[in-house]
């Protein structure tokens, strides 16, 4: 009996250890469960072709959640993400139309969009660090500014983008679908930052800012980097959105920031900073989207869809919270 007990302890700490190193394990487990639920109801859902189409429609949220996580790791938050999407969206569409929908014009427009998004993020970071303001209220305010800019660039939904933009995202390169290339690209950037030690430094800032400063980290510069990354990935999210809508709208991206934040939280990130992984946020984003599909395929009345969606998110979050609690309890 005694040996049994020890074995059980070993198993449990084993899991905890693994979770500590990869906080997204829980999110992966939930993704698998939701996939199984969907597969039971509708086997066609799990076919490669269907999943590729799904992945394409998930991309905007996945990118936004991915970018948001860098900010969350530092203990901050970026509420301007949704409006940033609108700003980048209308700018890209206007530039494309300016060049009459030519291919070089489109490439140029996309580059401009990425630069604008990244700059908007850097501006967020600079305001926060130079003026020592609270991230929550600052990014809320800059969000209003981005939306205002967007409205001055294009005051109502419209504009036209060549269909080739849409087909590009549905296509594949070297037999691998474009969305997968995109995902590999952002994961590549993450791995680069990880190997450079930047991710650890962001976590350090979120975990214990004074300690990070005393350890020689240039805290302000790294925080600006985090918001810049958030802007960069938000711009990528916008490009993916244009790939879906092939038009511009100053109202695009409304509510995206909160979906991104909750995806990051579901993916194991701690909103107080210092703990989490952008990879986890990708799975968190997938969960957010899969939940909608589960509700749809299980024929739940439209009336109850939002109700269910909220409940499932709470459930997913509380799993993570309970696990984190038991982890910190085992520390004592």
């Amino acid at each position: 009996m005694n040996t049994n007990f020890i074995k059980l302890q070993w198993l449990r700490t084993g899991w905890k250890e693994r979770f500590r190193k990869a906080p997204y394990l829980l999110a992966i487990a939930i993704v698998i469960i939701l996939m199984i639920l969907l597969g039971i109801r509708n086997p066609g859902y799990l076919k490669l072709a269907s999943l590729t189409i799904k992945l394409k429609s998930w991309m905007p949220l996945l990118f936004a959640a991915f970018g948001q996580t860098f900010v969350i790791l530092t203990g901050g938050i970026d509420l301007s993400q949704g409006s940033m999407i609108a700003l980048v969206n209308v700018i890209i569409v206007q530039v494309i139309m300016l060049f009459g929908g030519s291919l070089p014009g489109m490439l140029f427009a996309v580059s401009v969009g990425i630069i604008v998004g990244t700059l908007a993020g850097i501006i967020n970071g600079l305001i926060l660090t130079r003026l020592r303001l609270q991230p929550l209220i600052t990014t809320y305010a800059t969000g209003i500014i981005w939306r205002g800019f967007a409205l001055s660039v294009m005051n109502e939904p419209g504009g036209e983008v060549p269909m080739s933009f849409y087909y590009f995202f549905s296509g594949s390169f070297l037999f691998i679908p474009i969305p997968v290339w995109f995902l590999s690209f952002i994961v590549g950037i993450y791995l680069f930052l990880l190997r450079r030690g930047a991710v650890t430094q962001l976590k350090a800032i979120g975990g214990y800012t004074i300690g990070a400063f005393e350890s020689g980290i240039n805290v302000d510069r790294k925080r600006v980097l985090a918001y810049g990354l958030s802007g960069f990935f938000t711009a990528l999210a916008t490009i993916a959105i244009i790939g879906e809508t092939i038009s511009g709208s100053p109202l695009a991206g409304t509510g995206y920031e909160l979906e991104a934040i909750s995806s990051a939280a579901i993916g194991g990130a701690s909103l107080s900073g210092g703990f989490g992984s952008p990879i986890g946020s990708l799975f968190g984003g997938i969960i957010t989207r899969l939940v909608n599909d589960v509700i749809f395929f299980y024929g739940i009345d439209v009336k109850y869809q939002q109700l269910m969606q909220g409940l499932i998110i709470i459930l997913a979050l509380s799993f993570g919270a309970l696990l984190a609690q038991s982890l910190s309890r085992s520390d004592k």
Partner: protein, 495 residues
């Protein structure tokens, strides 16, 4: 010889308080230099200013003879100056290895982190402490799962692996066991042999004379003397620390009744070890020594904060069981903390509400009229000389001193027998402080006893009837009458 590091006229203010005024200090290559001083004299501030973890207000820092102006601790580290911080700079969720290399330049190919090489260095460093730390301490364990001494060791190694030219150890040995301290000293000696310099902040005289070359003594933010330790003595250093002896003429020796009120026998809890003490009726018993030697813990234990304590306690001949604050309140204890924000005041709520809280609990009254409560509160506040506008005003509008008076009023309403005070005059202005001392004496004349911990040595020496000096959880000395002096206090506290 040009000193390796020289500070000229460095000053620093926090709000209205001078933490450092005109500090001068010089460090030679290859020396172990101690910074010594009483509680809160500015030692840690000085070390933080050297690496620019804090910005100085004025003054000059010369390094290798050249003026330097670091803009953050990272710059200082690049220049070869590094600190082992008293409060530690470790990130709880990161691993030992990640912490050790946090903020350092990447050495691997193309500027990537070479985790393999880091792990090798990390393991080699940890090897030095093998046998005196648990097997648990490996490079990949998160810091929040380590014990206090292990964290301190990681903080030390984090700095030592870089072999800085100047290393500042801010009370690095205080949470270490003696075997661990021995290894730390070996590391320090090795650095010294390589010509590096070490600044050590420590309260332990034994360490000072064991390993130090010179010591600079700081008093009230001023560097008062630098001594060669070979030619100095324990007494000389303590004399520099406390300065001109303070013989207070206004000290009135009150005579407490010769009636034993509270007896504590062999009390152990947390840091406390075998505490034996008796408290007389109407006595003000002071607790002193360096900060964090168990004074606060003793008070908290008496207030039911350490239910797992060992030992016997008798109040007025009755055996006590200190299971929880509620039990302690019922037995006649009251607890007043200087940390009003955490332990005293309910901000925003009214003066009336803040005053009656403990009274309502103790009397168990469930229904009451505001009018009757007012009539009960008014005489208490009058006795405290509290100046206020309206009983319904928020307590947050009042000054720290007046807030503290209300907390005292809260407990007076419960008719306490023993009042436990943990640094109650922290952040209280001088005038109100004097009023509080007078009030304490007045209360004691009515038969209440007070156990009082203070971080201000002067006030306790002047106002307490008897002072117990604590060191590392033990009571090491009892000061009374003629021996109530700072000299005696620090002699006992730093032995």
């Amino acid at each position: 010889m040009i000193p390796l590091l020289k500070l000229k006229g460095v000053s620093k203010r926090f709000g209205g308080v001078h933490a450092l005024r005109q500090c001068n200090f010089s460090l030679q290559s290859g020396e172990i230099h101690f910074l010594i001083g009483a509680n809160g004299c500015g030692k840690s501030t000085l070390s933080k200013i050297i690496v620019c973890a804090l910005e100085k207000d004025s003054g000059e820092i010369l390094y290798n003879g050249n003026p330097v102006n670091f803009s953050n601790p990272g710059d200082a580290r690049q220049a070869g100056i590094d600190v082992v911080y008293q409060e530690l700079s470790l990130i709880p969720d990161l691993s030992v290895q990640e912490n050790m290399f946090l903020g350092s330049r990447n050495q691997g190919k193309l500027g990537f982190t070479d985790t393999k090489a880091q792990e090798k260095i990390c393991r080699a460093a940890l090897e030095r402490f093998k046998g005196v730390v648990s097997e648990n301490l490996t490079p990949d364990i998160p810091v929040n799962r380590l014990t206090a001494d292990e964290r301190q060791i990681v903080e030390i190694l984090k700095v030592f692996i870089r072999e800085p030219k100047v290393i500042i150890l801010d009370e690095a040995s205080s949470s270490l066991h003696s075997t661990q301290v021995e290894i730390l000293f070996n590391l320090v000696r090795e650095l010294k042999e390589k010509g590096h310099s070490v600044i050590m902040i420590s309260h332990k005289m034994k360490e000072l004379f064991e390993i130090g070359d010179r010591a600079t003594i700081i008093r009230n933010g001023l560097t008062v003397a630098t001594v060669e330790l070979k030619e100095s003595s324990h007494e000389e250093i303590v004399t520099h620390m406390v300065g001109e002896q303070y013989f207070s003429a206004d000290k009135i020796n009150r005579v407490p009744k010769d009636e034993i009120f509270l007896t504590i026998k062999d009390l152990s809890a947390g840091k406390l070890k075998d505490i034996n003490l008796t408290l007389f009726k109407g006595e003000i018993l002071g607790l002193s020594g360096l900060q964090g030697q168990g004074q606060s813990e003793l008070l908290l234990t008496l207030f039911g904060g350490h239910p797992e304590y060992k030992g016997d306690l008798f109040l007025d001949g009755k055996k006590l069981n200190l299971r929880s604050p509620a039990h302690s309140v019922r037995d006649g204890f009251a607890y007043i903390s200087g940390d009003r924000k955490s332990y005293g005041v309910f901000p925003v709520r009214s003066i009336l509400e803040n005053t009656v809280l403990a009274y309502l609990k103790k009397t168990g009254r469930k229904f009451f009229s505001r009018k009757s409560l007012r009539s009960e509160v008014l005489p208490i506040l009058e006795r405290l000389d509290l100046i206020y506008d309206n009983l319904d005003d928020s307590i947050s509008q009042l000054s720290g001193g007046n807030q503290q008076k209300i907390i005292i009023g809260r407990w007076l309403m419960t008719g306490p027998k023993v009042i436990l005070m943990d640094d109650p005059t922290k952040g209280v202005d001088i005038k109100t402080k004097e009023e509080l001392y007078a009030l304490m004496k007045e209360l004691c004349d009515t038969g209440v006893s007070i156990i009082w911990n203070s971080s201000e040595d002067q006030e306790i020496l002047r106002n307490a009837d008897r002072v117990l000096v604590l060191n590392d959880g033990w009571i090491v000395d009892e000061l009374r009458e003629d021996r109530l002096s700072e000299y005696e206090l620090y002699k006992a506290a730093m032995a």
